[in-house]
Structure formats: C-alpha cells, structure tokens
C-alpha cells in the first residue's frame, strides 16, 4: 500500500509543473492588460504605465517571469494580488473554508440521497419508481444552477420564509472564526441559536450545489448496480436463498461502488465549478467568486495562484479516491 501511495505521489510532480505552466500562461493568453483595465476610462500616462509594469514585474521577458513565479511557488510564495495588494495565499485560506464547508455538505447531500436512490431504482428496474427517479435525475442534471437557485430563494426564502436568502449566518451573531467553518465556529461560540442559524443558511446552497452530483451519482449507482445484479455470483447467492437485502446491500453494492466512487471523485471538480455560481447567488464568501472577479480584473497572481491551489486540492481528492479503490477492491492495491 505504501509503495502504491508513493508511486501515486510521484505522478504529482509532473502534474504540478504542468498545472503551474498552464495557470501561468492561461491568464496571459487572454487579451487585455491589468494596468489598462485598472486605469479604465481615466487612462494612464506612458511613464506611469512603465512604472507600474516595473512594479508588477511584467516588463521582463515572459520566461524570466515564469521562472520567478515557479521559484516563488516552490518557496510557498504565490505573490500579492494586484487589486487588494494582499498575499494570494492569505486570501485563499481566508475564503477556502467556506467553499470546503459548502462542498462537503453538498457532497454528503448528494451521496446520502443519490446512492440509495440509485440502488432502489436498480432493484425496481423498469417500474414506476425507477422511471420517475431517473426522469427527476435527468431534470436535476439539466437544471441551470442560476435559475434553480433563484427559484428556491423565491419560493423558500421569499414566499414561505423558511430559509434565509443568503449569507452564512444571521448578521446578529458575531464571534471569532478560528477554523473558518461556520458550523464548527458557531458551535464553539456558545451563542444561543448561532448553530441553528448556520445550518439554516446552509440548506439552500447545499441543495443547489448538490443537485448535479446527486443526479449523476443516482444514475451511475443505478447502472453499476444493474450490471452487478446480472453477475453469476449474485444469481448463486439468490439460489442459495440469501435475503434480497443482504444481496443488494453487501454483495452487489460493494462491487458497484468502484465506478460510483470514481464519479464522486470527478464530481469534486464539478462542485468547484458549480461553486462559482452558487457562491455568487448566495453571497457565500468562497473562492469561486474570488477567482471569477480576478479573471475579470486580469489579476494575474490571484488567477494563477488560485488555479494552482485548486488543482492541488483536486489532485489530493483524486489520490484519496484512488486509495479508496484499494480499500474496496484488494486486487487494485496488490497490482
């Protein structure tokens, strides 16, 4: 197992360098120049332009800039934002817990509902429940996030007033946030009602962000289960008189999990993409909106640093998924 993990870690190195290069060149490939964008209609004199270019360091040849960026990254320095002038690293870690908290909740929501829904649909293949579930999943998958979010806000926050419109907690509550995870910090604050408020604020964004992964997981579980349910050993188990619950729950599901876990791993990337819209609509202070704003402002250090950190996160998640394969299927870890 150790060799397996080390081997996987080694593949990190070329991926890491590749991501650094791509994130560095991606933002520079876009037309537009941060100084012109910053100056706007007011314009900027040539002398001032040259001064700023020198200050930001991009009057130098591109390969020098890349080398400096790469050496900076290896020393843990991602540079400072052109706009806020603060270290990219600090900004990322101030915002990331909010994205992570929301993503975890969305993933729990998607797995907790998607997995049983897929199993039930597979077991009841072709029946009404299966058809209804799979049509709903298709609708969920095709739903534009923006529209879905506004619809939920209008119905549940506007008309029914069951949930708050946006934000992470009622503004009435104010306490230190050492972890950045509102659920934990609100519990630790000991303030009455703070935890409930944090949970209430999580409901709608979790549903919105979790909808697409939920649909994908349900469909994937169903098809994987159907495949496994057709295998010989399942028939044998049935013939031996094993209870359907045991067959479906233990023998079939465990073997069907490999493709499902792959999908869950891949959904992490989708979650981050979905977080951009979800965070904007629900005023959720995470990294999605931060990245989009930076692209519009051509804030090079933030875009390249943010992309790199997100890529590293996704790489870590994928490594975890690969290790889970080993746990579920011993054949993989021995290979």
């Amino acid at each position: 197992m150790l060799n397996y993990v080390l081997g996987r870690l080694l593949t990190f190195i070329p991926t890491f360098i590749g991501v650094t290069l791509i994130s560095f060149s991606f933002i520079r490939a876009l037309p537009g120049d941060p100084i012109q964008v910053m100056a706007g209609e007011r314009g900027i004199s040539d002398e001032r332009y040259a001064e700023l270019a020198a200050q930001f360091g991009y009057d130098r040849p591109i390969y020098v800039q890349f080398w400096e960026y790469l050496t900076g990254v290896l020393q843990g320095d991602l540079g400072n934002s052109f706009v806020t002038k603060r270290p990219v690293w600090d900004e990322f870690f101030a915002l990331f817990p909010a994205t992570l908290e929301l993503s975890i909740c969305a993933m729990i929501f998607a797995v907790a509902l998607g997995l049983p829904a897929g199993v039930i649909a597979a077991v009841n293949r072709g029946k009404f429940f299966d058809r209804a579930l799979m049509s709903t999943a298709l609708v969920g998958y095709s739903m534009p996030i923006f529209w879905w979010a506004l619809l939920l806000i209008i119905v549940f926050s506007g008309n029914l007033q069951w949930t708050p419109v946006s934000g992470r907690i009622d503004l009435l509550y104010y306490f230190p946030d050492p972890t950045g995870f509102m659920i934990i910090d609100s519990l630790a604050s000991g303030q009455k009602g703070a935890f409930t408020s944090a949970i209430r604020h999580l409901i709608l964004p979790t549903i919105v962000l979790g909808t697409i992964p939920l649909a994908v997981i349900a469909r994937q579980t169903r098809s994987a289960m159907l495949e496994v349910l057709g295998e010989d050993y399942i028939r044998t188990a049935r013939a031996k008189g094993m209870s359907p619950g045991r067959i479906n729950g233990i023998h079939a599901l465990r073997n069907a999990l490999i493709p499902v876990i792959t999908v869950i791993g891949l959904s992490v990337g989708t979650l981050l993409a979905g977080a951009i819209l979800t965070e904007t609509i629900f005023s959720w202070p995470g990294i999605g909106k931060w990245m989009v704003d930076s692209i519009f402002r051509r804030d090079y250090p933030v875009v390249q640093g943010g992309l790199l950190l997100i890529a590293v996160m996704v790489m870590i998640v994928n490594l975890t998924v690969d290790m889970l394969y080993g746990v579920i299927n011993p054949k993989i870890r021995k290979r």
Partner: protein
C-alpha cells in the same frame, strides 16, 4: 478589538434580540472593498466601505450635493494669485483606536502632510506599502499641481501650487484625500506591520472599524467621540451581496435595510411593493458617442449634427436602459452646477438628417461604431446601443459596421488620432466640478488621450482654461455655460444618456439622501422603531 470584546458584543447583540437589531443598520452592498485605505484604490464600492464611514477630508461634499463644505479644515483661504491655499484645521478631533493603537494626540497638521506626502514622495516609507499605486492622486494631476505642503503651525497648513486651480477645494473633498493618522502609521511601521494601516483602518470618521470578513460582511460601530453630528445608529453592517436579484429578495425579507443597484427590470415591481421605498436621482455621469473629428467627413460639424439628429435616443433609453436613464443633451449631468438647461437638443428627425447630409454632399457614407465590451452605469449594454444606432443610421442612408475589442484594448485603441469610427464611451464624475468633465473629455490637452473625439476647439478651450482659474463659482459657471453652447453647436459627440441611480430601502429607514457623486453615506441615517 479584543476577543473578549468581540464575544461581549456578539452576546449582547444576540441577547438583546430585536432591540439590538433596531440599532443596527444593514446595507446590502454590491461587492467587496479592495481594502480600507481609500488613497490606494479607485472603486466606488471601496470608498463606500472606507472613506465615507471611517475617514474625513479637509473639505467635504455636502451630502446630496456637489457643493463643498468645511471638513477637517474649518476654513480655507486662496491667495490672490491662486497659487497658495491656506487651510485652518479643526481642533480637538480624535482619531479612532483599536487593539494595536491608542492615539496620544489629536489630529493636526502632521497628519495632513503625511496623508499627501506618502502618495507623492517616493522616499516616504509608506509610498510602496501595500503596493501603493496612488491612482487618483496621479489621475487628478496632484504631482504636477502641488509644489509643496507646509505646516505653519499645528493647526495651519499651506498648499503651494504650481498654477492656480479652482477645483483644488473639490479635489480635497475626494476620497483619495482622506486624512489618515501619522501617529498610527509610524506605530505600525515600527511594529513591522505597515499594511495594517490599510487592513485595520484608523480614521476620524463617524464610524469606527470593527471587523471585515472577506466577501461576506463588514462591521462598524458608532464613533461616540466624533467631532461632527454623531451617527444615528449604534452599528452599521455591510452585508456583501453581489447578485441584484438576491439583494431584492433580502430587502423584501427584511434581511437588509438599504440596497443599491437593482436590476432595471425589477424597479417597477419594487416601486409597487408596499414594504420597499425606491429613491432615484440622475447619476453624475454621461454616456456618449464620440466622432473622430479629425477624419473626413466627421471633421464637418454639420455632418456630425446631421448624424445626431438621426439617433432615436428615446428608443435607447427604453431598450438599453430599460427606463433607468435620461436623455443627455449636454456633456455634463443635470445635477452638476453650471448645467446649461437653456440648450435645445438635436431632435430626432431622420428626414431632416438625410437632407442635411445631402446638403453637405455626403452620400453612401459607411462608418464604424465601436461598442464597449463591458457594462457601465452610463451604458449598460453598448452592443445593443450600437445596434439601435446602426438601424437609425441605415434609415438616413448611412451604413454602419459595429466593432469591439477587449476592454483594455478598446480604451487604448480608441485614443488614436486616426481612429476609424465613432466610439461609444462615457464618464463618471470624480469631484462634482465641471472641469472634471469638460477639460478632461473635451479639452485640447486631452487629444489622443481622454478626448476621444480628438476635438480641439480654440474658443471652447479658452473658456474652460479661463474658468479653471477664476475664484468664484458664479464666474466659473457663466463660462462653462457658454462652453456648453459651443459644444452643442460643434457636436463632437452625440450625447446619449445619464443613468438614473436607484436606491431601495425599507420604510423604517430615515434620513437617507441619494448622493449625486455616487457614494452611499450612512452617517445620518436612522431607523424608526
């Protein structure tokens, strides 16, 4: 603020429940501030969160007007040659304090000198702190204008200028001229954390800074030592809410008291709603189409005027602004002093336009219209606007091709003297002074720079140059009014629209005034029980 204080405030607020809420004004703002030192930044969103609640300036804009009134300077005097401005400073003004800093002295001349010196003097230790680029200080030509700033005594400072400049008092009321504490800056420099001046701001304003959680919420407390009229609410909260539809839902649900920038499509529903009050005012901006007056046939004023008559501006207001705009006839907005209301606009008349073009011998004209790729208050959808103009011009036999570039490219290329085509652009005022529109956008110095019409009219230029140095507003206004007559006669632009700014709020909000300079100011806003 110490941890204990934070906990205490939180507990207090949560146990007081509703009554605590009544003392807290929540403003749902449209975005995050870039930082809290106004001189470092240029965005209105940043100024709303920094210069208005936290700082003061030597002169201030009277809220709701573009008129300047005394701020941290009790009075000022301009020398006869206009090159020396003496400010008498207010005494007994206290700076805020925080965990790391408690002031030992009141505001004085050293703070004024430091506030400007750091922006213009590369040797000042704060010149490079927080990546200082001092865009506004440079943009308002302060480095060329200010020769030196001298302290006569603790409560008197003299600005020596290189030339007379009437708008200097208005410039001193701008956000970049906010006065920061030298004592705090020195203390932070000694502690090795100079960036705290930007991150944990200390000012003299009506509110003190409590906390900022990036992209989520900014908290302020009333400054009970404030030298002027104290704030009406105990605490002020900015809940950062980027999506306009969500802001609408939040004000409706009572989660915020005041919001700005509604979707134009929602304005009517908001006006009809019982629990929402909508205020409106023309913004201090203008959207225009600038012809290139150096290239034939647009070098002929009659051709430009004919084209202006071909544009159906009302259709643009209805379609592009969805009603949240007003037709512009002058290059300055109607809320600005010296606005010449006697001027008659070129009326929409395609037949007359066609005849006028024929009279000038212009037939089979084809031209380009440049459409901006970004949304601006003065032009929410340039592409759509260009399409409407394309249709209007086709009715008078002019063929239009629409072009666009990435925003930075657009700004750069549109400056070229030989530019092919007329450019859609606009301007939002900085200091409420007509000079900030007329000289910047139409003066001879602006050719190949901010003067996109490349228009240099000697008569017009002489008037605005003269107006810049006259001592009284009345004298200056007379010249600016005359300059607008020349502008209309020569038509270097088609003036299109001034946007209308909407503010939406709960009925319990009292004393909110829409500010023509665009800021959202809560110093004197209260809540009825």
């Amino acid at each position: 603020m110490s941890l204990n204080k934070i906990m205490a405030t939180g507990l207090l607020l949560s146990t007081l429940g509703v009554s605590a809420q009544a003392q807290t004004l929540v403003y749902c703002s449209e975005g995050s501030p870039e930082g809290f030192d106004p001189a470092l930044y240029t965005a209105g969103t940043t100024f709303d969160a920094s210069s208005h609640p936290l700082y003061n300036r030597l002169s201030e804009f009277k809220v709701g007007t573009t008129e300047t009134i005394p701020g941290l300077a009790e009075s000022w005097e301009v020398s006869d040659d206009g090159k020396k401005v003496t400010f008498k400073l207010r005494q007994g003004v206290k700076f805020h304090s925080n965990d790391q800093f408690t002031p030992t002295r009141d505001f004085n001349a050293d703070d004024v000198i430091f506030s400007f010196d750091r922006q213009g003097n590369p040797d000042n230790p704060y010149n490079q702190v927080s990546g200082g680029t001092w865009e506004y200080f440079g943009g308002m030509s302060m480095p060329d204008l200010i020769e030196s700033i001298e302290k006569t005594d603790d409560h008197t400072v003299v600005f020596n200028l290189t030339r007379p400049e009437a708008p200097i008092i208005a410039n001193m009321a701008m956000d970049f001229a906010s006065i920061v504490s030298k004592e705090y800056a020195d203390a932070m420099l000694a502690a090795g954390t100079p960036e705290m001046v930007n991150q944990a701001p200390i000012g003299t304003g009506p509110f003190t800074f409590q906390a900022y959680q990036k992209d989520a919420v900014i908290r302020y407390l009333r400054n009970d030592d404030y030298w002027g009229d104290k704030a009406k609410v105990e605490s002020l909260i900015f809940a950062i809410t980027p999506d306009a539809s969500v802001r609408y839902q939040k004000v409706q649900a009572g989660e915020c008291h005041v919001t700005a920038y509604p979707n134009p499509a929602d304005v009517q529903a908001m006006k009809d709603a019982e629990d929402i009050v909508v205020m409106e005012q023309e913004g201090l901006n203008v959207g225009y189409l600038a012809y290139n007056t150096q290239v034939a046939p647009f070098d002929n004023a009659n051709v430009r005027k004919a084209l202006n008559m071909a544009i159906d501006k009302q259709a643009i207001i209805d379609v592009v602004f969805q009603g949240s705009g007003e037709i512009a006839k002058n290059p300055i907005p109607p809320t600005m002093w010296s606005y010449n209301n006697a001027i008659v606009d070129d009326n929409y008349d395609p037949e007359a336009a066609k005849a006028a073009l024929a009279a000038e011998g212009v037939t089979d004209l084809s031209m380009k219209i440049w459409a901006m790729p970004v949304q601006r208050p003065y032009n929410p959808n340039a592409r759509r606007m260009a399409e409407l103009m394309q249709e209007d011009f086709s009715k008078v036999g002019v063929d239009v091709e629409i072009v666009s570039y990435e925003w930075g490219e657009y700004l750069e290329r549109s400056k070229a003297k030989d530019r092919d085509g007329a450019v859609l652009l606009g301007w939002t005022g900085d200091n409420g002074d007509p000079d900030n529109f007329l000289a910047v956008l139409l003066g001879c110095d602006g050719v190949e720079k901010s003067n996109r019409a490349q228009w240099c009219n000697e008569e017009f230029d002489a008037l605005i140059q003269k107006a810049k140095v006259l001592p009284t507003q009345a004298e200056r206004a007379a010249l600016y009014e005359e300059a607008q007559v020349i502008f209309k006669d020569q038509a270097p632009w088609a003036t299109i629209a001034h946007s209308v700014v909407y503010m939406t709020m709960r009925p319990e909000v009292e004393g909110y005034v829409v500010h023509p300079l665009g800021g959202h100011i809560f110093n004197q806003v209260g809540l009825s029980q």
